[in-house]
């Protein structure tokens, strides 16, 4: 961790010195907003822009759950609604579902009351609190630059305990600053530190997946060259880390593809910003580099598809061949005229081959209009699967019966 702090300080100092020594160019255009950065001049008039997050969840009666399609034998229903900007989910020991949000700044607790669900806001006003993880009675919450915990939260949902900071020396950059947070099989907390831009040469402190001990000690980088991964899980048998990455924008309608990767050991570099999708050199940062220098993707998941959640299925409710399959929640594209994603896909690993890749749940996109955006999944104790939708502020449940 000390080394990490030193690097952060060195980079900040370098930044300050650069500003000091290079006089501001009066006529030079300022940096555009992050979403527009890297846009070629000939596309300056492009109507493509990120999809705005609605300020309120859709009322339950207006959620067209009948438009959602799942494979034969499966059933999808609305499980909970009215959860503004619902994102990542994690289970408490006593059966409480904790749900994060991003721009809404809230963390929720969803309590199953048999036929219905009660939603309580247990923290609000947080800084893009996308990451939630639970272990031994304690809820961990990741904001942009810090990770905090709430001890014994499950017995105090109506008067949540004070958040105690665990780790707070993370970069404060907001672009790709929100975090996915999960416990690895080694008991360490893993999270992403995204690139602070669409496309740039990031400081050594960014564009990675990192881990710490739950008490905040032992910071280390796990994977490098990862533009922004906001979803990962570990293989139930091999215990290897699988993760999705959002690729850069404005390179084209069909390139580069987002990716699904595996990082079986510490220290691999996955290419950003030099090489995209394993075989395309960046027009600016790829000069003098080769894609062979970097780890190749396990699967190209599709251009701009915005893959978030990754979850291995370990339950026994679904058919036997679903065991150890990955569910991939794909929030859907904005930097593409033909929208893709807005679905939950699945990937089945095949030894020595590209995984089998197919749709599991779809229907959030009707024509060119999305009404919902599936962003994470979470398996239930009975083997059914929850899907969080941050656009409609809802959670769906997929079940199976023969």
């Amino acid at each position: 961790m000390r080394r990490f702090v030193v690097i952060v300080l060195a980079v900040s100092l370098l930044g300050a010195l650069t500003t000091w020594f290079i006089p501001a160019q009066a006529q030079q255009p300022a940096a555009p907003p992050t979403w527009k950065q890297g846009q070629p001049a000939e596309l300056a008039g492009s109507p493509l822009a990120p999809i705005a997050q609605p300020p309120a969840p859709l009322p339950a009666a207006e959620i067209p759950v009948n438009k959602l399609k799942v494979p034969p034998g499966f059933r999808i229903e609305l499980w909970a609604s009215g959860i503004n900007n619902a994102r990542a989910m994690t289970w408490g020991d006593k059966g409480t579902l904790f749900v994060s949000s991003r721009v809404a700044g809230n963390v929720y607790a969803v309590v199953d009351k048999g036929g219905s669900r009660e939603v309580k806001t247990i923290a609000k006003g947080l800084n893009l609190p996308n990451g939630v993880a639970f272990k031994d009675g304690t809820l961990y919450i990741a904001e942009v630059s810090k990770i905090s915990k709430m001890e014994g939260i499950e017995s105090k949902l109506d008067s949540p305990p004070q958040m105690v900071t665990v780790f707070e020396t993370l970069p404060k950059d907001l672009p790709h600053g929100w975090k996915y947070l999960a416990f690895g099989p080694d008991g360490k907390l893993y999270f992403n530190i995204g690139a602070p831009c669409n496309i740039c040469l990031p400081p050594d402190t960014h564009a990675n997946i990192s881990r710490i001990n739950p008490d905040g000690t032992g910071f280390e980088y796990w994977a490098h060259g990862v533009r922004n991964s906001v979803g990962f899980d570990w293989h139930p048998v091999t215990k290897e880390l699988y993760f999705t990455t959002h690729a850069r924008d404005w390179l084209g309608e069909d390139v580069p593809s987002d990716r699904l990767d595996v990082a079986p050991k510490k220290g691999l570099h996955f290419g950003y910003p030099f090489c995209h999708q394993g075989d395309i050199l960046d027009p600016e940062f790829g000069k003098g580099r080769a894609c062979a220098e970097f780890a190749a993707p396990l699967l190209k998941t599709g251009p701009h598809i915005a893959g978030n959640g990754v979850e291995f299925y370990t339950g026994s409710m679904f058919p036997a061949d679903y065991k150890n399959r990955m569910f991939l929640a794909q929030r859907g594209s904005w930097n593409r005229t033909q929208k893709i994603g807005f679905r939950v896909a699945m990937a089945t690993l095949k030894a020595g081959d590209v995984p089998k890749y197919e749709t599991f749940a779809e229907g959030w996109l009707q024509g060119d209009q999305p009404w919902g955006r599936p962003v994470y999944t979470k398996q239930m104790k009975d083997g059914s699967l929850l899907i969080a939708d941050d656009y409609a502020g809802a959670i769906y449940r997929v079940s199976y019966s023969k």
Binding site: E42, G45, A52, P55, V103, L174, G177, E253
Partner: protein, 210 residues
């Protein structure tokens, strides 16, 4: 495989197509917005806005210097700001108590009411030289890429045109100082390269827009 790269020879045509696309997209957004906001009731919003009138004006056109006009603000903008006041992420001694007890429906109704009102330019005394410099700064700092070409706002991005000068100055200085509430950090980042003089120029230009 299609890529969005366009030939420069047809730049003018592309611009026109771009404009038509933008217009179509806007129409789609507006249509989608109205579908989504079916629960929002502008007439109920008018009644609920009665306590707001003393400061923000009966039709959302405020007259008190330093107090923003809400008329013509996009629904997402007003609704998100109210959420931030309620959650304590945005703080104001006068405004915060009003937002404390608003329900999600109240916010949607208020946002719908103010979006439907016609905005009028505030009678700020605009310095012509500063405004001229501000026009160039708006282009250099990409303001219209989010706030739209005439700074009329869209989605969660505020309408700026004709807003009160004192308010614009306070907010821009707040973003520069990293103390103003920001939904996702975009404005705080955009304000960092601005000098104090440039903030003045921008505010004077924006306050003078129709």
């Amino acid at each position: 495989m299609t890529t969005p790269a366009r030939s420069t020879a047809s730049a003018t045509r592309s611009k026109l197509i771009g404009f038509v696309f933008t217009a179509a997209l806007l129409a789609a957004i507006l249509a989608a917005g109205s579908v989504r906001a079916s629960a929002a009731d502008a007439e109920a919003g008018r009644r609920k806005a009665e306590p707001c009138a003393a400061c923000h004006g009966p039709d959302g056109n405020a007259t008190i210097p330093g107090t923003p006009s809400l008329a013509g603000q996009p629904t997402y903008f007003t609704h998100w700001q109210l959420i931030k006041f309620r959650d304590g992420r945005r703080k104001d001694a006068q405004m915060s108590p009003f937002a404390e007890n608003l329900s999600d429906d109240d916010m949607a109704d208020l946002a719908a009411f103010y979006a439907a009102q016609t905005p009028r330019r505030r009678p700020s005394s605009v310095d012509a030289a500063k405004a001229a410099a501000g026009a160039e700064l708006v282009a250099r700092h990409h303001c219209s890429s989010c706030h739209m070409p005439n700074l009329e706002g869209q989605k969660q991005m505020a309408r700026l045109a004709g807003q009160d000068l004192t308010y614009l100055l306070r907010l821009l200085r707040g973003f520069k100082a990293q103390t103003a509430s920001d939904l996702d950090g975009t404005m705080t980042m955009a304000a960092q390269p601005l000098t104090a003089d440039e903030i003045e120029s921008l505010a004077h230009y924006i306050a003078g827009l129709p």
